[in-house]
Symmetry: C2
Subunit: 478 residues, 2 copies
Amino acid sequence: MSGPEDRSLELSGPALRDLIEAASKRILAHIESLPRQPAADTAGGTELARSLETPLPEAGRPAEELLELLFARVIPKSFNTAGPGYLAYIPGGGLPQSAVADLVSGATNRYVGVFAAAPGLAAIEANVVRWFCGMVGLPPDAGGILTSGGSLSNFSALLAARREKLPEDFLSGTLYASDQAHHSIAKAAMLAGFPERQVRSVESDERFRIRPEALERAIARDRADGLRPFFLVGNAGTTNTGAVDDLTVLAGIARRERLWFHVDAAYGGFFVLTERGRRSLAGIELADSIALDPHKGLFLPYGTGSLLVRDVEALKRAHALSGEYMPAMQEDPDFPDFNLLSPELSRGWRGLRVWLPVAMHGIAPFRANLEEKLDLASWAAEELSKIPGVEILAEPQLSIVAFRAVRPNLSEEGLSAWNRRLLARVNARARVHLTGTMLRDRFAIRICVLSFRTHRDRMELALEDIREAIAESELYQR
Amino acid sequence: MSGPEDRSLELSGPALRDLIEAASKRILAHIESLPRQPAADTAGGTELARSLETPLPEAGRPAEELLELLFARVIPKSFNTAGPGYLAYIPGGGLPQSAVADLVSGATNRYVGVFAAAPGLAAIEANVVRWFCGMVGLPPDAGGILTSGGSLSNFSALLAARREKLPEDFLSGTLYASDQAHHSIAKAAMLAGFPERQVRSVESDERFRIRPEALERAIARDRADGLRPFFLVGNAGTTNTGAVDDLTVLAGIARRERLWFHVDAAYGGFFVLTERGRRSLAGIELADSIALDPHKGLFLPYGTGSLLVRDVEALKRAHALSGEYMPAMQEDPDFPDFNLLSPELSRGWRGLRVWLPVAMHGIAPFRANLEEKLDLASWAAEELSKIPGVEILAEPQLSIVAFRAVRPNLSEEGLSAWNRRLLARVNARARVHLTGTMLRDRFAIRICVLSFRTHRDRMELALEDIREAIAESELYQR
């Protein structure tokens, strides 16, 4: 696009239009072909990775050639996280409407970390945060930030709790979450400086929900040992099975014990938009802070998390610091300076990638999609339970079902090995991609339905592939 | 775009193409008009912000209407951080090529936090990190991560240092940086749990570079007091004046004192691409870790930082934690799992927004732009020094010059107030936007040249406006 003598990085209008069109053309073809693409294909990935290594180029290459490389070779060689068959980990999908929002925000490159620098943009982002606070039932003066994902949301919540609940020498603080909590909780504790042994992994019940009695015992034991309980995490949809802790009971314990009550709703939070989800998540409105990930339950592209807090000033006390060279900050809490509520100073305009798709479509189709995912997970659990020898290890509480195939005369170890092979067989067909996890020393196969692209037709393929993989493995049984 | 009965969030091919084109059309017009746009316009920003507040919408609105609102009302009401006249804070510009990269990465929505999930994408991002390591002269086995910006880079560097240099009870650790360091260093310490009083603000010299003798005295004093010095920050381009500490001397002190040596090169780092910059930044290659921000010196949109570390394993020890439900991680250090090196798990594919513009243009025009910015800052300093009554407070070490107007018979306080009014007068013309800072109790006006869109013509307007603002203020002098 630029000759060797051209030192300008500014593309001409036509050249920029051509670049956008060249990308757009490939994106449209890519999305159109998603249903026919394999659910995952990473064979030869390491060789591909090696072949892409180049020294820092002095001269450029045509954009067409680079886009061709990306779409023909690089992007297809991956877990197809955007496709309808992706039922692994926690899907999301990645609404391209948000990608268009990113095109706008990157090309206009405004700075939203300080309200005064871009009041309208900051207001749109603050509005998105208020929508989320309203969804989960936090009071009107609650607030928060958009983050890059659940890990940083959990981390900032922990920092606020550390600041509010512990003295300067905080190292005797103890944290509580169930043995099903996401590892980003323990990681947040590590980043915040707590010794790993002070993160309590509290026993969960047969439905993988924290046992409140076990929690209370752990707190009492720690107090007796001179430690300082200060942070309690409730799961609103675990990664393993979608289990939802009894949030109302946890809120009561937190209040009595004067703990900060954080709800990790990164996966499950947006189900509050549905009737069933609201019932499952009852008590979430009692939290001091809530992590929820629009790149999961709102189907947005990766890189869109949020942290909501009841007391915005607590978040601010844990994060606010400024310099002489900075612009004036706001006094009005309606218009927060995001940099004072977050570890980040400069960062992109995340608000638009949430606001644009919600404003374009309204929330109704998001809710309808979430209803559909709940239905699909129930349906899958029912169909799985009809397969002889299949044991449901976790009935869906939200949109995840976990199961395994059982067979007499196999040890627990043998069963786990067999189910790993079953999973590999299902995934080898590449119509769906599932993943496994360990549930109390038993290997479980999980189906997590969360993409806006996953509908009944794809779930039927999933069940077909599971049935056939089991049938085949009976044939080749040792 | 969707009727009330349509529950699908998937736009049809034509509808998505229309959406991209509608955004594209406005982006092209916006960029074309940048030279004529005001350098900043936030009058009525609070009213605009209030007017944008809406409840969560149940139904959608046409995308055309939303884009029109954004481009006609929201985006213009801001600091024009993308325009040629933006000489405030630390500019960058925001190459739209990166915005196109974001369109691609958002619309294809791959997950790069784990190598196995998208080997080619992760490899491209790792390659970008290696380019950066090569630029600053780190050894071939160095590595790092892309972050959302300098604040998180500084934070992760500090975590690595805390883990490597301090015991589990780290609260007696002390950190050292000059009194010119960016506040994100003190903020990183706060987030990492250190008491604020343990961040030493070491005196700087007449050129705003740390005084090594003062540093050594502070370290000795802290050791004598039973504290544990562990982290030394060298500035490679301060935000106030672009001052570059003597990095070679600092590296020597860090080695003798067994401190982690971190260089905050968020603003200045990419000047190593130029001959003059390489001389100024000599010693940067001795660092244990380096923060540098592609959204500054590579002109990319906000949200693109990086952290480079000599010993990748140290970064990993400070950040690695995983769960049963996660995919297999890599053994091969050539192909890192970014989630193990960073606080983030899910996040967007940042690598592409660096890789695409560099691969399209080669590094040559980036270098040429940086050379030009160095020239422009020198030129501005020379022109300023010709204005009677202007005092240069900081000659450019990179691309920042700081100055003030002086006048006899005014107290220091009076001078600061007068210079604030001068700055307001320059900015009111809105052909350029400058900012001020405090340099040792003196209010200074800064010019920071860093956008790929700022050239000699705009700098001449800056000088013209400064000259006229001074002349006018002489007329109306008290």
